[in-house]
């Protein structure tokens, strides 16, 4: 990072808050605008529903923030969602696991998938981009092979509470997401673990020489990324009531876009969970607003793609990054 950019992004209280304030203002303007365009938009029902829909991406975006802050990236998250979803259905139907065990199993699969990423990245020193492109292919392939493209249906009713139910009127998974947002935000901002993430992203060699356990920290964030993907898979299956091998496809785009839009530098060393949350909400609003004005679902990814490129562009020119 250039010193100027460092001055901007690491003088924590003032400038960073300002960056998120800008985002928050844009968010509020967008909310008002979309609400004006469509009277169905600003209803509590709709907003809560949007909260439900954005949970899967949101869960993964939290550890993805950690990963990108360390200067890495994880493109395999979508594939891990697919693999975990498949393992949930497969272990329940084919191994005969009781559903709670199958749920735990799916989580473990996600964690192991992320752990493998972290292990190879730290031990063999394969760059994260390349490793996670390769595991993207492998994990998706495994999902396909294990499931033989067959879907699993017919889960017991109680399972759907997670994805479709509400507690005190708030969607269940949204409550989980909010809890984890707080945990992640506090961890990044106030713990030694969080400080280590910033150090590794800013200068990994110096972090190592300062006796920070860089390898263990990286291993943790990639494992968390896998676990979050597993959790998102469980929520997803519970929400749509089936298990399919193509679940999670394209998630990496939404997740990375949310993180980058929220102000985390793609080059590492800066970023906050609060920013990611704002980015997440903005993307969901974008999708919702587009849908309500009649734009078909698939077309929204065009806008997300544009948003991704533009936000990196703006961020990098604001931070004055010139090689």
């Amino acid at each position: 990072m250039s010193l100027a950019s460092a001055a901007l992004t690491h003088r924590m209280p003032r400038w960073l808050v300002r960056h998120e304030t800008i985002l928050a203002i844009i968010l509020i303007v967008a909310l008002i605008g979309l609400g004006a365009l469509n009277d169905k938009f600003l209803t509590v029902d709709n907003l809560l529903n949007q909260g439900r829909l954005m949970t899967e991406i949101g869960l993964i975006a939290l550890p993805m923030t950690f990963v990108i802050v360390t200067g890495g990236i994880d493109l395999s998250v979508g594939a891990i969602v697919g693999l975990s979803a498949i393992m949930l259905g497969y272990s329940w139907k084919n191994f005969g696991f009781p559903l709670p065990l199958a749920i735990v199993f799916a989580l473990v699969v996600g964690g192991v998938a992320g752990f493998v990423n972290g292990l190879v990245i730290t031990r063999v020193k394969v760059p994260p981009l390349i490793m996670t492109i390769a595991t993207l292919a492998l994990y998706r392939g495994l999902a396909e092979g294990i499931s033989q493209a067959r879907s699993v249906r017919g889960y017991p009713e109680w399972f759907y509470v997670l994805g479709q139910g509400s507690i005190f009127g708030v969607p269940t998974q949204l409550l989980i997401l909010i809890l984890l947002i707080v945990v992640a935000g506090v961890a990044l901002d106030r713990t030694t673990f969080g400080r280590a993430l910033y150090a590794i992203g800013a200068n990994e060699t110096a972090a190592r020489f300062s006796a920070l356990n860089v390898d263990r920290t990286k291993l943790i964030v990639y494992t968390l990324s896998g676990l979050a993907s597993g959790l998102a898979a469980i929520v997803l299956v519970s929400r749509v009531t089936t298990t399919r091998m193509d679940m999670g496809m394209g998630y990496e785009l939404d997740v990375i876009a949310a993180v980058v839009l929220g102000g985390t530098s793609i080059f590492g060393g800066s970023g906050t969970i609060w920013g990611t949350v704002i980015g997440l909400v903005m993307i969901q609003l974008l999708k919702n607003g587009l849908a309500l004005t009649g734009v078909k679902g698939d077309a929204t990814i065009v806008v997300i793609g544009l948003a991704l490129i533009l936000s990196v562009l703006i961020a990098s020119s604001l931070q004055g990054r010139r090689e």
Partner: protein, 512 residues
């Protein structure tokens, strides 16, 4: 300005007069003069920050002077870009070699100006032949034109760089700290090549802080200090002491406030440490209150040893005892837990995180102590940083300032302070005063003395002989991965230590 030497019939290959260059807030060069004649090796000497690298960048077209003249063969020329400099016959060999690891020696030499055959296509055969001719012209017999550069040692790669410069018909060759990463054997080979280049009429600008090399290879030497031209001497007519005085501007003895301190029990006893490829078999003991100086040429393995003792590259065999107990140091975390601290050689990339604040840098190595159950105690952290800033006289506006903005000396103090916050028992310092102004140097020496007095054991790696001789209770000399000599303070003289550093076939006198 250069002083009348001999009457020369032809003008120097390259000359600069009265060069002024300023950057925002800093005057880098003022009134600097320099020249290189054909067949001459002209050394450029000066402390870090003296302006050497700015001058070099002006000569190689990277920067343009604010005022002053550049003369090529006596004619005023503007070197407005690196390309223009290259066309004028000036080539630079940087410390970080700029080669293509996956391509062959021949292609590395000729990339961008490869010989062509019919239709504009690259003539590989001609390229190979030309490369072989260049190799032969410098009598290099252990390098082949079709070898992949990535498989070569640093010494070989440097030769490829030199050949590349020659392929552009360079008449002035600038070498920036060329021996920094070379083994002894490679240094000897380099000097051999330099002599051949001299014989061909190439003028060489040789930047080095190694006095012994200057006296071996250079014909003239120019000293810069704080961006100003101090003077030029014919090497045969001067001495190392005179040059140091020109560089530093004061007598060197006053720089070392050595206090005698009672020496206690051994803090660290390392025996038969082996870590390939650089650490061959080393045994070191450092006692409480003792300052052990570790001298040696660059490439002798000192930093590697330090990093092994600190756990960055753990030892493959051998044992280490700290305060009498046997320990295995397998990571910097473990080393720190046992009370070992390491201030690395490269401040910018290893010691400090320049993008982070002074506050966060100070606490980086002591976070566990500053936190309860993983949560950082922010007020305590701030107090520690503010105390540190005061104790080490770090010149900064506030602890929230970005560390990268501070001067080299202040940055070094932060790195030191960060580790002292842990109250280490053993402090390993790797080139602690490199690139630091003289005032900050004195402060660091004073600090070292205080630490020793409080019972800390200090292992100091340094390439500056005066520093090693001035500060150490004992001097160890390392060469090619082994300790080859040990001197106590009374018997450590520049000749003895310098001689041990060079090995038996050294013909160089190292003046103190």
């Amino acid at each position: 300005m250069m002083g009348a030497l001999h009457a020369h019939p032809s003008p120097p290959l390259l000359a600069v007069e009265n060069i002024q260059k300023a950057f925002p807030g800093v005057r880098a060069l003022s009134g600097v003069a320099f020249e290189v004649r054909a067949g001459e090796v002209h050394a450029l000497l000066g402390e870090n920050g003296a302006g050497k690298s700015t001058l070099i960048k002006i000569i190689s077209g990277v920067y343009q002077p604010d005022s002053g003249n550049i003369l090529i063969d006596g004619r005023r020329t503007a070197l407005s870009s690196p390309d223009a400099a290259r066309r004028a016959g000036v080539a630079t060999i940087y410390q970080e070699l700029l080669l293509f690891p996956e391509l062959t020696v021949a292609e590395n030499i000729f990339l961008g100006h490869a010989p062509r055959a019919a239709g504009g296509r690259i003539d590989w055969r001609a390229m190979g032949a030309k490369a072989n001719a260049l190799l032969a012209s410098l009598d290099i017999r252990d390098l082949a034109a079709d070898q992949i550069v990535g498989t070569l040692s640093v010494g070989h790669r440097q030769r490829v760089e030199i050949l590349r410069a020659l392929s552009h018909d360079a008449r002035v060759l600038i070498m920036d700290e060329p021996t920094a990463a070379l083994t002894e054997a490679d240094v000897a080979r380099l000097f051999d090549i330099v002599r051949r280049l001299k014989a061909r009429g190439v003028g060489i600008v040789y930047i080095s802080h190694r006095m012994d090399e200057i006296f071996t290879i250079a014909d003239r030497v120019t000293v810069l200090r704080d961006g100003s031209y101090v003077g030029s001497k014919v090497v045969a007519d001067t001495s190392s002491g005179e040059l140091v005085q020109m560089m530093v501007g004061r007598r060197i003895e006053s720089l070392f406030p050595k206090i005698t301190v009672p020496i206690g029990a051994p803090i660290m006893e390392a025996r038969n440490i082996v870590r390939r490829p650089m650490t061959r078999r080393v045994s070191v003991t450092v006692r409480a209150g003792e300052i052990v100086g570790l001298a040696g040429l660059v490439g002798s393995g000192r930093s590697e040893l330090a990093q092994t003792l600190f756990g960055v590259t753990p030892a493959e065999s051998g044992d280490i005892r700290l305060t009498g107990r046997s320990v295995v140091i397998d990571s910097p975390e473990t080393a720190r837990a046992h009370g070992v601290a390491y201030v690395p050689e490269d401040r910018g990339s290893q010691g400090l995180i320049r993008a982070m604040s002074v506050l966060h840098n100070f606490s980086l190595a002591a976070l566990d102590g500053l936190s309860r159950r993983g949560f950082i105690d922010r007020p305590a952290e701030r107090r520690m940083a503010e105390d540190g800033v005061k104790r080490f006289s770090v010149k900064t506006n506030s602890v929230d300032e970005i560390a990268g903005r501070l001067s080299g000396g202040n940055q070094q103090k932060i790195v030191l302070g960060k580790w002292l916050a842990n109250n280490p028992k053993l402090l390993i310092l790797d080139e602690p005063t490199r690139g630091i102004d003289v005032g900050a140097k004195a402060e660091i020496y004073r600090l070292m003395g205080e630490l020793a007095a409080s019972g800390v054991a200090i292992l100091m790696i340094s390439s500056e002989l005066p520093e090693v001789l001035g500060m150490s209770d004992r001097v160890l000399v390392m060469r090619e991965g082994r300790i080859v000599a040990e001197f106590d303070r009374a018997h450590a003289s520049a000749e003895a230590v310098g001689g041990a550093m060079m090995g038996d076939n050294s013909r160089v006198e190292v003046a103190a």
